[in-house]
């Protein structure tokens, strides 16, 4: 069963996406945001109001700060034109006054620049933290997370790498972009005040550089893409040496892997050097443009000066201003490239937020289930993946309160889907699933999740202590309550065998514990949650028989007095159940107790026979 394409397309954000068929991220089946760059920024700003808060004041500071860049050229011009030619030699008094005023202005602009920087850092990082939080919460609401476990890495990068990319841009490129734009604007204005003709000359010289930068940047972003791809291949090859260490040694395939390493490392280096060649090309190019500009300024300037339209100080100021013009250009390709990455990252994050949760919580309006063992009803329930085969076909079943039900069937028979519908990890395509006669879709999540608890096949544990993992189901429980729970499940001998008891660190994903012990923790966790309907997906992996005994004992006590539905991979579970539901090809083909079913010819008898063959 491949990734279901579950996200709805009819959400309102589609209007913002503009014309065209909504595209889907093929990997994640998420909404693929098709906004233009500006549209992305607009939507992004809406989602993180911190960005725009006080932006006008920040921009005002930015304006003053960039104006500071022209203080020195103006001072040079003033002093050459008015200071040099005072009566009886240089006018020292004028120069002193001029310098004092300029120094004062420099202090002011320096302070404004500080405020602008600080406000920008604060606004963007706060905004991005909000974006992270919203995206994280939203990912948890998406069913893709529980159904397509292979692609979780990609979802993680939506709240980490993608947001980091925006952050990196804001901390460097974004700021430079703002300052550079201001710098060009202020320099151009000042130039125009001195001489519009010469300003025109400068712009004509610089314009080709502008287009050159855009063109280079396009080549560059393609080159960087190649670098990323090659790096990915290389890390894959290097990863083999680590993750496949045992396989490589067992089959003696060192040469093959070494060959792949050499090839991919060299390919990466080649791609890097190529990208570097493009990214550095703009600087020498800009130097030559600057030289041409300088020549033009001097020639045209002298000609204008002779005509009386320009002073010597203004001409020299132009040469100072040229450096303000060229600097931003030298970094422009890198800035644009980062900007492009940042916008792409932003677009991906928005894609997550624009994917409507397909399993919606009715929230406050939802109904609350009463406590006590639950009655489960499936009324003509059908499920199929969009454009996929029907996996559950017209299932009708009623489970009376307090019954232990075992669900059996071959792989792909629909038993996992049955359980996912029961816990509302998915909604049926047609028909109704009900608990105590209430449609599951009308039950508020808070009520549903406290009444119905599922123990998945893999007992996932968080990297903290054993106690914290059990407490996850009910954060307010005390250690004493946890110990009671362990005791009531008959596991106190096991807990006692752990040197640190409840404080035992379980390691990442619980890997410090054995697979069987992880299941034990998951069972205690479910017990602490105290559900009325317990849904179990039995683990298939082999556990040593002694732990197996403990698991059986705990399961037995956990299911007492509750309605329980277990996907049974083991014969004993089906034997011990009050009722067995046999699935075949999306339908319930048999139902009854083990004793009733085992002697009747049919799917169950066949399954039972092969079980007996393999495990007795």
């Amino acid at each position: 069963m491949s990734a279901p394409t579950q996200a709805r397309t009819d959400d309102s954000s589609e209007q913002a996406a503009g014309a065209g068929r909504p595209e889907r991220d093929p990997v994640l089946s998420l909404h693929q945001n098709q906004d233009t760059a500006l549209g992305t920024i607009r939507r992004g700003l809406q989602l993180s109001p911190e960005f725009a808060r006080g932006l006008w004041l920040t921009l005002l500071f930015a304006l003053v700060a960039t104006a500071g860049k022209v203080i020195v050229p103006v001072a040079v011009q003033q002093i050459i034109d008015n200071g040099l030619t005072g009566e009886g030699g240089p006018d020292l008094g004028f120069v002193a006054r001029m310098v004092a005023v300029c120094a004062g202005l420099l202090v002011v602009t320096m302070f404004c620049s500080y405020l602008m920087n600080l406000r920008l850092y604060r606004a963007t990082e706060s905004g991005l933290a909000t974006l992270r939080r919203k995206a994280f919460r939203h990912v948890h609401d998406l069913s893709v997370l529980t159904q397509n476990s292979e692609r979780k890495g990609a979802l993680v990068s939506r709240v980490t790498g993608d947001v980091d990319q925006i952050s990196t841009f804001m901390q460097w490129g974004g700021l430079l972009l703002l300052v550079s734009t201001g710098q060009l604007l202020v320099a151009t204005t000042l130039m125009a005040v001195y001489s519009w003709q010469l300003t025109l000359v400068v712009w004509i010289c610089v314009l080709p550089l502008f287009f050159g930068v855009r063109w280079l940047q396009k080549l560059l972003s393609r080159a960087y893409l190649t670098v990323r791809e090659r790096t990915g291949d290389m890390l894959g090859a290097i990863g083999e040496t680590v993750m496949g260490a045992a396989v490589i040694r067992a089959h003696g395939t060192e040469e093959r892997t070494a060959g792949r390493i050499d090839t991919t490392v060299l390919a990466t280096r080649r791609a890097q050097v190529k990208a570097q060649r493009l990214s550095m090309a703009v600087s020498p190019f800009a130097e030559i443009v600057a030289a041409l500009g300088n020549v033009a300024v001097v020639l045209v300037g002298v000609w204008l000066g002779i005509a009386g339209d320009l002073t010597a100080g203004q001409l020299i100021a132009f040469l100072f201003l040229m450096t303000l013009f060229i600097q931003p250009m030298m970094m422009a390709t890198e800035i644009f490239n980062e900007a492009q990455n940042a916008i792409a990252g932003w677009r991906r994050v928005l894609g997550v937020l624009d994917t409507a949760p397909d399993i919606a919580d009715p929230g406050e309006a939802g109904r609350v289930l009463p406590r006590g063992p639950v009655r489960v009803g499936f009324d003509r329930v059908t499920y199929s993946y969009p454009e996929g085969p029907v996996v559950l076909d017209d299932v009708d079943v009623e489970i009376t309160p307090g019954t232990r039900v075992a669900v059996v069937g071959e792989t792909g028979s629909g038993k996992t889907t049955f359980v996912k519908l029961l816990t509302r990890l998915m909604d049926p395509a047609s028909g109704t699933v009900s608990l105590d006669e209430v449609d599951l879709r009308e039950v508020s999540f808070s009520s549903l999740r406290s009444r119905v608890v599922m123990v998945p096949q893999e007992g996932f544990l968080f990297d903290s202590s054993l106690g914290d993992n059990i407490r996850f189901a009910r954060p307010e429980s005390t250690d004493a309550e946890l110990e009671t729970a362990v005791n009531e499940l008959g596991l106190s001998d096991w807990l006692g065998s752990l040197a640190h008891g409840l404080d035992t660190p379980v390691g990442q994903r619980g890997e410090s514990l054995s697979a069987g012990e992880r299941q034990l923790v998951a069972l205690v966790r479910a017990y602490v949650a105290d559900p009325d309907l317990l849904v179990l997906d039995e683990a298939t992996s082999a556990v040593d028989p002694h732990t197996e005994v403990r698991i059986q004992r705990a399961l037995d006590r956990l299911t007492r007095g509750r309605t329980s539905v277990a996907i049974a991979h083991r014969l004993s579970t089906a034997e011990a159940a009050d009722r067995v539901l046999v699935f075949d090809d999306g339908r319930i083909v048999q139902s009854g107790s083990h004793d009733e079913l085992v002697d009747r010819p049919g799917v169950y008898a066949d399954l039972y026979a092969s079980w007996i063959r393999s495990s007795a």
Partner: protein, 676 residues
């Protein structure tokens, strides 16, 4: 119970000499003793950069030459401006006319300056990049090849993530300062000639530079000192945010089914806010530093103008000289910052270098002999004599993962094999049975010589494995682990794994025997279908069958299966085992098993407990002769019987010893290790 004890005094380093230099041009000098990571960073960083300069001397020299050209021309450009002011601009403006010769000279000078700068810049940046990427590639290859060479026991001691980031991020960090290095060298040169130019032009005005530029340099140092710990903190918090997201999404099913999305979001938000605060802190430092360093040269220019006017009035200098010095100030600000960039990268570079060196200097290359085994189809005779084995815990006593740099010899070790003796006749199928942690999985890795025993010996057909040539073991024996690694490659390559002379028909035959032909045939592309992250992902059972086919296709004379079909449906498992036994060339088979059906297929059972073989015989014999074996294989049946008897509490009864580390940390089951 000797097994499961962790004793520090058993610690013994794999007594191999430090590895040969991994590749030409890769420095494997012993890393400096790491005491305080920030102590002497500059000197150590310079030594790292020295390694690069010595490895790529010509590229380095050419890059520096480019940088010097650029520096020289930059200083020259200020003189050109001064010259033009005095000889072209001011005369023209005062006289109201100029000569074509003066204008041509001005244009030629300005163009020459531009071209000189362009050439210098291009050389410098291109070659600096080339040098950086060449060093990165060189060391990545060296590290990865070292990984291939190091014994499995070394791999077991180090978490996967650390090893991957060593080859990637650590190598990158080590050579990061190479990018700005030529510029910094050029900047030193530029400062020297600029100082000389200023002193020559006017010593009084030069004084301003001698005040302003040291302050600027000092500000850079102070800033880098203060900001680099903040930046590392932000980096660590980034990793934390990512860790929380990974874990939370991995546990999505638990989070969702227990309705804990809100508390998880809170946990994530706390992390994200810590990161935000750290980044804002970095931003605040920059907000102070950037405006200051930008304004400082401007203040210098103002001072030059003021002093210069006074010097002009006394006739000590010409106006052009004043313009020249003022212009130099605006030009020098940026190069001085390049020192800051290098200083900022140095601490990370030094740490990265040390970590890379610790891998390259790791000892423990497996030595191979030159003996070969008879090329026959017959099964191997396998024997082990008094084999013992222990490994250093990958986790420390607190359950934390050890750092790569902390490859200490005194770490705690866990004994897993404690004197194993076995003899298996050619063509026999033997089941290894024992409780978790009894050493079964570790024994399989020793039998394959993935690791060497600490004492004792394993032999194939009477030849000690250590005397066999390098390719002998993989070509005569194959191990199928519990969880296997699937390469990012086609099905065909995943099965053949570069083995010579394996055709498609043989691959299909192996797949059929492993009962994997069905699902492979259904894949789009069949044998050409790509597996791994970018391709099809296989279920646990499918991966196991793939691993089995991978082993069978090599027609091994010894097949070792380490609980290799645990995730396969029992019916299919039975078919596979039956198929293996039906083959006419009787390979010797060793199978680690839990399921009774698997055990019963074996000719003989070895019962292991506490790192020793306690009993051997047929299943029925052992049921009566070995109480431990009896308890183990019947525990499950008793449990279900008692369950049925009535749902009375099951009596608490001690079964076969289940080992428990005093640390309560890492499981002793080596299967988890080999399957990484």
């Amino acid at each position: 119970m000797a097994q499961g004890t962790t004793t520090a005094d058993q610690a013994k380093r794999e007594g191999d000499p430090p590895g040969e230099p991994a590749a030409e041009g890769v420095d494997t000098s012993t890393p400096d003793q790491v005491t305080d990571p920030h102590k002497g960073v500059f000197a150590r960083g310079m030594r790292v950069l020295g390694v690069a300069a010595r490895t790529e001397p010509w590229i380095f020299l050419a890059a520096v030459a480019g940088a010097m050209l650029h520096a020289g021309v930059t200083v020259g450009s200020a003189s050109v401006l001064g010259y033009l002011t005095d000889n072209t601009i001011l005369p023209a403006f005062s006289a109201g006319e100029t000569t074509a010769a003066a204008l041509v000279a001005a244009a030629a000078l300005l163009m020459a300056v531009g071209l000189g700068k362009a050439v210098g810049l291009a050389l410098r940046r291109l070659l600096a990049g080339l040098m950086q990427f060449r060093m990165q590639a060189r060391y990545r290859r060296a590290v990865a090849r070292k990984y291939l060479e190091l014994p499995l026991s070394w791999h077991h001691r180090h978490p996967t993530g650390q090893l991957l980031s060593n080859a990637n991020a650590d190598v990158e960090a080590a050579w990061q300062p190479l990018a700005p290095l030529p510029m910094a060298v050029g900047s030193v040169f530029m400062l020297v000639i600029a100082s000389i130019a200023m002193v020559v032009t006017d010593p009084v005005l030069a004084l301003v530079a001698f005040v302003v530029f040291p302050i600027l340099a000092a500000a850079n140092v102070v800033f880098q000192r203060r900001v680099s710990p903040m930046a590392s903190r932000a980096q660590a918090l980034r990793a934390e945010v990512s860790g929380v997201a990974h874990e939370s999404f991995d546990g999505a099913l638990v989070v969702k089914t227990l309705g804990r999305e809100d508390t998880e979001t809170e946990r994530f938000t706390r992390s994200a806010h810590r990161l935000r605060d750290a980044l804002i802190q970095v931003g605040r430092m920059r907000s102070i530093f950037d405006p200051f360093t930008e304004a400082l040269p401007n203040f210098g220019v103002l001072a030059v103008l003021l002093l210069g006017m006074w010097r002009l009035s006394t006739g000590a200098i010409e106006p052009g000289e004043l313009v020249q010095i003022a212009f130099l100030f605006t030009l020098l600000a940026l190069p001085i910052r390049s020192f800051g960039w290098i200083l900022g990268d140095l601490p990370r570079s030094v740490v990265g270098w040390d970590r890379v060196q610790s891998v390259l200097n790791s000892g423990g290359t497996m030595e191979h002999g030159d003996r070969t085994l008879e090329p026959t189809e017959r099964g191997l005779a396998l024997s082990a004599r008094d084999v013992t084995f222990s490994y250093a815990d990958a986790y420390d006593a607190d359950g934390g993962v050890r750092d790569l740099l902390d490859d200490t010899v005194t770490g705690a070790r866990t004994t897993v094999l404690n004197g194993v003796d076995l003899d298996i006749a050619p063509g026999r199928t033997v089941a290894l049975v024992g409780p978790t942690g009894s050493g079964k999985s570790t024994l399989t890795t020793v039998l394959m010589r993935l690791v060497d025993p600490e004492s004792g010996a394993v032999s194939y057909d009477g030849v000690d494995l250590r005397d066999l040539a390098r390719d002998q073991i993989p070509s005569h024996a194959a191990l199928v682990p519990q969880g296997t690694f699937v390469f990012e490659d086609s099905v065909r390559d995943n099965i053949a794994l570069g083995a010579a002379g394996v055709d498609d028909a043989q691959i299909w035959a192996a797949l059929r025997l492993a009962r994997a032909d069905g699902f492979i045939a259904e894949l789009d592309g069949g044998l050409d279908a790509r597996l791994g992250e970018k391709g099809t992902t296989l279920s646990g059972g499918q991966r196991q069958r793939l691993a089995l086919a991978r082993a069978i296709v090599r027609r091994p004379r010894l097949l070792i299966m380490d609980d290799a079909t645990s995730a396969v449906d029992p019916q299919i498992e039975a078919q596979i085992l039956a198929g293996l036994r039906e083959r006419d060339d009787a390979a010797t088979v060793v199978v680690v098993a839990y399921r009774r059906a698997t055990i019963e297929l074996a000719d003989e059972v070895l019962y292991m407990e506490g790192g020793r073989v306690l009993a051997r015989g047929s299943h029925t014999e052992l049921l009566s002769t070995s109480s431990g074996y009896n308890r183990l294989v019947t525990a499950y049946e008793r449990a279900s019987a008692e369950n049925e008897a009535e749902r009375a509490p099951i009596p608490e009864e001690p079964g076969p010893a289940e080992p428990r580390l005093p640390t309560g940390g890492h499981s002793t089951d080596a299967a988890e290790e080999t399957s990484r």
